[in-house]
Amino acid sequence: MIDGDGYVAAAYIIFLALVLIYVGIMAFRLSNLERELAELNQEAAQQDAEREAPEPAKVG
């Protein structure tokens, strides 16, 4: 086997590539989650603002 090295390298690269693809998919999901959390945070802030805003009106 003269060019056996190439095949061995290929096999281990396949392993590495699979793990990396997996990490990539998980990263994609994480970015979705991040976006969703940011939206929720914004919405929660908005609700807080709405709750606080009418109160001075009642007093005044």
């Binding site: 086997m1 056996g4 095949y7 061995v8 096999a11 396949i14 392993f15 699979l18 989650l33």
Partner: protein
């Protein structure tokens, strides 16, 4: 409340250390095989992935069985993640096996390597797991049917191996690699370290994905709480089990 991310950091570090050590051992410590030369070094990752994938499929079956017994939806999620990861490993086994076959025998596929052939059959079976889940709309029924599938397929895996190996042993008494008998000590040690490394990787990724699914469920629950029930119909049907918090 269980947090799946707990212990994930130390697990990741352990995985990185053991896998790196395994690759170093494979590259510099393990001797070259007398018959096959350097190409035999594919053996370590190929067989380690195969064994871990098999254990993963079996574990998925056991978890599916637990789901059927306890009606606890978390067992279905665990089973789903285990099968999903094992399927990825099975792809790895098929690809590295094909490379090995090409390097050793000059063709991308050989029918007389029982490990490879059984993995093709097992892969074809488990490849239907996701479509099956996807085509059942009711989430409760989806989990139940998927667990039945997981149990049946888990029982199928060892039988299939036995049958394929038996068919093969008529033509070839024993081909390479798949038995560890008569292996020099250095090879054995390298193989065991690789096996532990891949197993650790499996557990780490399993916990990682469980944590991700769990986090997603938490975010969904949070969204329901903040925006009210009107926003609870987000997204379409899913093949993955949903986490309910």
């Amino acid at each position: 409340m269980t947090l799946y991310g707990k212990g994930l950091r130390s697990l990741s570090i352990a995985t990185a250390v053991v896998l790196t050590g395994a690759f170093l051992l494979i590259a510099f410590y393990a001797p070259e095989d007398a018959d096959q030369g350097i190409i035999q070094k594919i053996f370590y990752i190929h067989v380690a992935m195969a064994i871990v994938a098999l254990c993963g499929f079996t574990a998925g079956g056991v978890m599916g069985f637990m789901h059927l017994r306890t009606h606890d939806r978390r067992w279905d999620l665990r089973s789903y993640v285990a099968i999903h990861l094992s399927l990825i490993l099975a792809v790895g086994v098929l690809l590295t096996g094909a490379v090995w076959a090409k390097g050793s025998w000059g063709s991308w596929w050989v029918w007389d390597e029982p490990m490879l052939v059984s993995f093709l059959i097992v892969f074809l079976l488990y490849a239907t797991y996701q479509p099956l889940r996807f085509s059942i709309e009711d989430p409760e029924r989806q989990s139940r049917y998927a667990s039945v599938f997981a149990v049946v397929a888990g029982a199928f895996v060892p039988i299939n191996f036995a049958a394929v190996r038996m068919a093969d042993s008529f033509i070839h008494p024993r081909t390479l690699g798949t038995t560890t008998g008569g292996m020099p000590g250095e090879m054995m040690l390298t193989f065991l370290v690789t096996l532990v490394g891949v197993a650790l990787l499996f557990v780490t990724l399993w916990k990682y994905e469980m944590a991700a699914k769990h986090a997603r469920g938490q975010v969904k629950a949070l969204r329901r709480r903040i925006t009210g029930e009107r926003a609870s119909v987000v997204g379409g049907r899913s093949a993955a089990p949903q986490v309910h918090v």
